[in-house]
C-alpha cells in the first residue's frame, strides 16, 4: 500500500504535516497543542456534540469542530484566537448552568476536565439566576454510579457501550435540557469491560463505587505498570496513596489494550496490599521456621541445592527477569522447571481487535515458556525423588501430595507463607510482588512490556529477580546484578527472542519478541 498522502497546514503558527484524513484535533496534538474537548476520544467514534473543540480556520465562515474536521492543505488554524476562546467560554458557561458546582465533594475533582478547562478559560462567575435542574444519583450496576447532575451529555459512555463493548446498555434519554444518560431497569452495567465508562467520563458523572469517596486525585502517586490479571497484559497505571494501591486504571497502548482494561483487572488490587506477608528470610529449625539474615538463608538454600537437581515450580506471574534466572538455576543443577496457569473464561472486548480478558489468568506464561519452563496441568510430574523443590511464588494447593512428597527439600521463594510451607519448607526467601518491584512480562502475543515499582515491599523482602540472582551466585554462577535492567540485558544476550531489547528500547509500549509474528498465535 502506498504511503498516505501527507497534508501540510499551520496550527497556532506551527507547521504541521499529517496524513490525509487526520482531524485538526489530532493534528494539533502532534504540534503539542491540546485543543480542549469533551466528547471526542480517540478510542470512540466521533460525535461532535460537545462543541468545545471549536477552532477558527482561516477563510471558513464558521468555527470548525476540530474533532470532526479533517485537515486540508494550507489550512491556517487558530486554537486560541479571541473568537475560538469566546466560543469555548460560552460552552463552558452552558455546561455549568445546570451543574451543581460541587467539586469539594466530587471524586473527579483534581482530574476533571470541566474543572480544568473552566479554570483555564471559563468565566469567573456564572450568570444563571434561575434554579438548576435536578436528577437523583443512580446505581448503574457493576462498579458504576451515575451522578446525573454533573453529566455534560458528551455520550462517551453511550458510544463505548454501543460501539466498543457492543452491548448498548446505556442510552441518552429524553430531549433538550431534560436529557440524561439512562439504562434499562433490570439491565445493569455488568459487561466485563463496562468499568471503562468511568475513565472515559471527562467529569464526575460516572464514578467507581469501589473507590467512591476514597481517592482524591491530588493525593495519589501514579506508576506505569502492566496488569497481572491475565495474559493480555493490558497497560495500566497503579495509583498509590501512603504506600497502598488504591486504584488501577488503564494506560493507553494501541498495540495491546487501546485505552481500556477489564473490570476484573481493574478491581483486583486488594491482594497487592496484603498485610500477611513474609517479611523475613526463614530457615527450618526443628519443627519451626526461624527468622534469619538474608546471607544465611541464601547460603542454606544453596547448600541444599549442592549436588542436587533443582526442580523449579514457578509462577507465571513472575517477571521475565526472575524466570530467566530460575531457568539458569534449572540448567546449573541439571534439573527441570514447570508452571501451570489458572484458567478463567475469556471475555473479549468486541470493538477492539485482539483484546480480551484471556483464559490464561497470569501475565507471563509466554515468558515462562520462552525460558524453557514446561507448561503443565500437573507440573510436578517430572519431580524426581530427592530433587530440591523450589516453589517460586506459587501455590501447592491442588497438586498431588505424593508428587510433593518426592521432594528432598523445599525452598520457598514467595510473597506469603502458605500453611503447608510452615511445616514443609526448609528455607523461605521473601520476595516483593508485582507492584513492589520492576520487571517485564511477555504477553500472549509475545509483547515484552515493562512495569515499574509503585510501592515499597514489606520488611526485608527483596525483588524476585534479586533473590534468584543471589541463589545463583551462591552456587558459583556469575549473577551479580544490581538492577533489574542488568538482568534484562543478560536475558536479552542469552535468549535470541529478546535480542536487541533493553529497558530503554522497550519504553512504555513494549516490543515484540523475535518471531512473535503479528498476533497470529491463537
Amino acid at each position: 500500500m502506498a504511503d498516505p498522502k501527507m497534508i501540510n497546514l499551520t496550527i497556532e503558527g506551527r507547521a504541521v504535516s499529517v496524513p490525509a484524513g487526520t482531524s485538526i484535533l489530532e493534528a494539533a496534538k502532534t504540534a503539542g497543542v491540546l485543543i480542549p474537548h469533551y466528547c471526542y476520544h480517540p478510542g470512540l467514534p466521533v460525535a461532535g456534540v460537545c462543541r468545545m473543540c471549536l477552532v477558527e480556520v482561516e477563510k471558513a465562515p464558521k468555527l470548525a469542530p476540530s474533532c470532526a474536521t479533517a485537515v486540508a492543505d494550507g489550512q491556517v488554524v487558530h486554537v486560541h484566537s479571541p473568537k475560538a476562546l469566546e466560543a469555548r467560554k460560552g460552552v463552558l458557561e452552558m455546561l455549568l448552568i445546570n451543574h451543581p458546582l460541587d467539586c469539594p465533594i466530587c471524586d473527579q475533582a483534581g482530574e476533571c476536565e470541566l474543572q480544568d478547562y473552566t479554570y483555564q478559560e471559563g468565566r469567573a462567575e456564572g450568570r444563571l439566576r434561575e434554579g438548576k435542574r435536578f436528577n437523583p444519583v443512580e446505581d448503574f450496576g457493576g462498579d458504576v454510579m451515575y451522578v446525573a447532575n454533573r453529566c455534560i451529555l458528551c455520550t462517551r459512555c453511550v458510544r463505548f457501550m454501543d460501539d466498543v463493548a457492543q452491548d448498548a446498555a446505556l442510552n441518552v434519554s429524553e430531549r433538550g435540557d431534560r436529557a440524561l444518560i439512562g439504562k434499562f431497569e433490570g439491565k445493569d452495567l455488568t459487561h466485563p469491560w463496562a468499568g471503562n465508562v468511568i475513565d472515559l467520563c471527562p467529569v464526575g458523572a460516572l464514578l467507581s463505587k469501589d473507590s467512591l469517596n476514597k481517592v482524591r486525585a491530588w493525593e495519589v502517586d501514579r506508576t506505569a505498570s502492566v496488569c497481572p490479571g491475565c495474559s493480555q497484559g493490558c497497560n495500566m497505571i497503579v495509583e498509590t496513596r501512603d504506600n497502598l494501591v488504591v486504584r488501577l486504571r488503564p494506560r493507553a497502548n494501541e498495540e495491546v489494550n487501546h485505552f481500556f482494561m477489564c473490570d476484573q483487572g481493574r478491581l483486583d488490587y486488594r491482594w497487592m496490599n496484603r498485610q500477611d506477608r513474609v517479611e523475613y528470610p526463614m530457615v527450618r529449625r526443628g519443627d519451626a521456621l526461624a527468622v534469619t539474615e538474608w546471607e544465611g538463608a541464601v547460603a542454606e538454600a544453596a547448600a541444599l541445592l549442592k549436588g542436587k537437581r533443582a526442580f523449579v515450580l514457578a509462577s507465571p506471574g513472575l517477571p521475565n527477569e526472575a524466570l530467566f534466572l530460575l531457568s539458569r538455576l534449572v540448567k546449573k543443577t541439571g534439573g527441570a522447571g514447570a508452571f501451570r496457569v489458572r484458567q478463567g473464561d475469556e471475555a473479549p472486548l468486541p470493538g477492539v481487535n485482539d483484546l480480551a480478558r484471556r483464559a490464561d489468568l497470569a501475565p507471563n506464561g509466554r515468558g515462562a515458556e520462552l525460558f524453557g519452563l514446561a507448561r503443565a496441568n500437573a507440573p510436578l510430574a517430572g519431580l524426581q525423588a530427592g530433587d530440591v523443590l523450589v516453589v517460586a511464588d506459587e501455590e501447592l494447593a491442588g497438586l498431588d501430595a505424593p508428587d510433593v512428597a518426592r521432594a528432598g527439600a523445599i525452598v520457598v521463594i514467595g510473597t506469603t507463607l502458605p500453611a503447608w510451607a510452615r511445616h514443609a519448607a526448609t528455607v523461605v526467601l521473601p520476595i516483593t510482588n508485582v507492584v513492589e518491584e520492576e520487571g517485564t512480562f511477555t504477553n500472549l502475543r509475545g509483547r515484552v512490556q515493562r512495569f515499574r515499582q509503585a510501592r515499597s515491599g514489606p520488611g526485608f523482602s527483596r525483588p524476585s529477580w534479586a533473590v534468584a540472582a543471589d541463589l545463583l551466585a551462591a552456587l558459583g554462577e556469575s549473577a551479580n546484578y544490581l538492577l533489574a535492567s542488568e538482568v534484562f540485558d543478560a536475558l536479552a544476550a542469552a535468549h535470541s527472542e529478546f535480542a536487541g531489547m533493553s529497558y530503554e528500547a522497550l519504553g512504555l509500549k513494549g516490543a515484540l519478541v523475535a518471531g512473535a509474528g503479528t498476533g497470529a498465535v491463537a
Partner: protein
C-alpha cells in the same frame, strides 16, 4: 381558512388547484385531472434528462433552505452501484407552516407522482415519505393513495409498465420537530433518535442507511410533475421578471392575527404588502399589525415596515432582514405581548432540542427561563445583554440550526422591539404594551 375556499384572483393555483376538491383525492379522480402523465413521460426519459429540466426550471427547495433542486439531484452518482434513496420530507413542523399537509390531504397522488419521478431521476428504487406523526389524516390519505397506486401498477417492480422499480412508502414520525432536519429525518427512518448528523458526509454521499440519498420537501416534489408537463420555460417565467433566482409558484401558509388565515399560492416575488392586506384581508378589526414572521418561526421577525417593503421570494425577504424559510407567515398584532410570544417560541425550541450540542441543549432552556422570568415581571436590565450573549453563543456553533433558530426571535425581537422588553422590565409586571409601529 378551511377548504373548500375560493382562491383569490391574484393567486396562481398550480399545486393548490384541487385543494378542497374531494374528487381529486382518488386515483381515478387524479387521472381525470391529468395525473400521472408526467410520471409516464418521465419513465420514458433518461434520469439525467429529468434532472436537467428541473435544473433549468429554477425550482428551489421549498422546505426552508432554498437549494436548487436539480443541482441537488445532480449530486447523486448514478453509476456507483449502490442503492439510492429519496426521502420526502413531510415532517412539516415549522410553526406557522401547514401547506404540505394540504397537499397530502387533497392531492396525495400529486405527491406520489412527484416522489416517483424524483426517485427515478436520482436512481433510487425506494422513496420514504416521512410524515410527522400528528398528521393522522394526511397519513391515512397517503396510505390509501399508495394502495391505489400499487394496485394499479403505477408503483412497484414494473412501474407503469416501464420495467423500472419505484417504491414509495410512508414512514410515520412520532413527535419531534427536529426530524424535519434532513439528517435527523434519516436517523429517524433508521430507527434512531432524531439527532442531526455532522456534515460531511453529505446525504448525497452517505445518507439514509449509509447510502446516497436525496431529501426533498413535499411542495418541491409536488411541483416536479407540473414542470415536466408544462416545461422548464413555463416554470422559469413565473416570478419577478427582475429576479431570475426565484422561479415558480409558492404556497404560503398564513396564520395569527389576520382576517383570512389559510394557504395561498402566489408566484414568487409577489408583493408582501398586497399579500397581507389584499389576499389575507389585513388586520382584525380595530387592530394593527405589529410584527411579521414570514417564513416559519425560525426566521427573523420583521417590523411591519420591513414586511410591507418585501417581495415574497428568496432574495426579496433577505433584502428586508429575514428569509423566505418554509413560507409560514405568522402575523402578530398590537394586542399581543410580543415578549411573551418570543418566550413561547423559545420554549418551543427548548422542548424540541435533540440534546446533542451543548449550546442548544442548555441555551434553549436557559433562554426560555430568562424570558419567562421577564414576562413574569422579574426581569432586570442586564437580562437583555445576557440574552443577546447567550444567543450569540448559540449561533453558528452547532451541528444543525435549531440552536440558531431559537436565537433568532430573541435577537431580532430585542433588536427591533427593545422597547417592549424594557417596558416589561421597568413596570415589573405582565402588561399589554401599546404598539410602537
Amino acid at each position: 381558512m378551511g377548504y373548500p375556499h375560493k382562491p383569490h384572483d391574484r393567486e396562481m393555483p398550480v399545486l393548490s388547484k384541487y385543494f378542497g376538491d374531494a374528487g381529486a383525492i382518488s386515483l381515478d379522480g387524479w387521472k381525470q385531472r391529468g395525473g400521472y402523465a408526467a410520471l409516464r413521460k418521465a419513465l420514458g426519459m433518461a434520469p439525467t434528462e429529468i434532472t436537467a429540466i428541473v435544473k433549468e426550471s429554477g425550482l428551489r427547495g421549498r422546505g426552508g433552505a432554498g437549494f436548487p433542486t436539480g443541482v441537488k439531484w445532480s449530486f447523486m452518482k448514478l453509476d456507483d452501484g449502490k442503492p439510492h434513496y429519496l426521502c420526502c420530507n413531510a415532517d412539516e413542523s415549522e410553526p406557522g407552516t401547514f401547506k404540505d399537509r394540504e397537499i397530502m390531504r387533497w392531492t396525495p397522488h400529486a405527491l406520489i407522482e412527484g416522489c416517483a419521478i424524483g426517485a427515478y431521476a436520482i436512481g433510487a428504487e425506494t422513496c420514504y415519505v416521512y410524515i410527522r406523526g400528528e398528521f393522522t389524516e394526511p397519513i391515512a390519505r397517503m396510505e390509501a393513495a399508495l394502495r391505489e397506486a400499487y394496485a394499479a401498477g403505477i408503483l412497484g417492480p414494473n412501474a407503469m409498465g416501464s420495467g423500472k422499480t419505484v417504491n414509495v412508502y410512508v414512514h410515520r414520525g412520532a413527535g419531534a420537530y427536529i426530524c424535519g432536519e434532513e439528517t435527523a429525518l434519516m436517523n429517524s427512518i433508521e430507527g434512531r433518535r432524531g439527532n442531526p448528523r455532522i456534515k460531511p458526509p453529505f446525504p448525497a454521499v452517505a445518507g439514509v442507511f449509509g447510502m446516497p440519498t436525496t431529501i426533498n420537501n413535499v411542495e418541491t416534489l409536488a411541483a416536479v410533475p407540473h414542470i415536466l408537463n408544462n416545461g422548464a420555460d413555463w416554470y422559469r417565467k413565473i416570478g419577478r421578471a427582475d429576479n431570475p433566482k426565484s422561479t415558480g409558484t409558492k404556497l404560503f401558509s398564513v396564520c395569527g392575527n389576520v382576517q383570512r388565515p389559510g394557504n395561498y399560492e402566489v408566484p414568487l416575488g409577489f408583493p408582501f404588502k398586497d399579500f397581507l392586506y389584499d389576499l389575507c384581508g389585513g388586520p382584525l378589526p380595530g387592530r394593527r399589525f405589529k410584527a411579521i414572521i414570514p417564513g416559519g418561526i425560525s426566521v427573523p421577525i420583521q417590523t411591519v415596515d420591513e414586511a410591507e417593503a418585501s417581495f415574497m421570494d428568496y432574495e426579496g425577504f433577505v433584502e428586508h432582514g429575514t428569509m423566505l424559510g418554509s413560507g409560514g407567515v405568522i402575523v402578530i398584532d398590537d394586542h399581543q405581548n410580543l415578549v411573551k410570544q418570543i418566550a413561547r417560541a423559545a420554549r418551543f425550541f427548548a422542548h424540541e432540542s435533540c440534546a446533542q450540542c451543548t449550546q442548544c441543549r442548555e441555551g434553549t432552556g436557559w433562554t426560555t427561563r430568562i424570558l419567562e422570568r421577564i414576562v413574569a415581571g422579574d426581569g432586570t436590565s442586564e437580562d437583555l445583554d445576557t440574552l443577546l450573549e447567550i444567543a450569540d453563543n448559540m449561533t453558528g456553533k452547532t451541528i444543525c440550526v435549531l440552536s440558531d433558530s431559537c436565537a433568532v426571535p430573541v435577537v431580532t425581537g430585542i433588536g427591533k422591539f427593545r422597547g417592549d422588553f424594557e417596558a416589561l422590565i421597568k413596570t415589573k409586571a405582565t402588561v399589554m404594551v401599546p404598539a410602537v409601529v
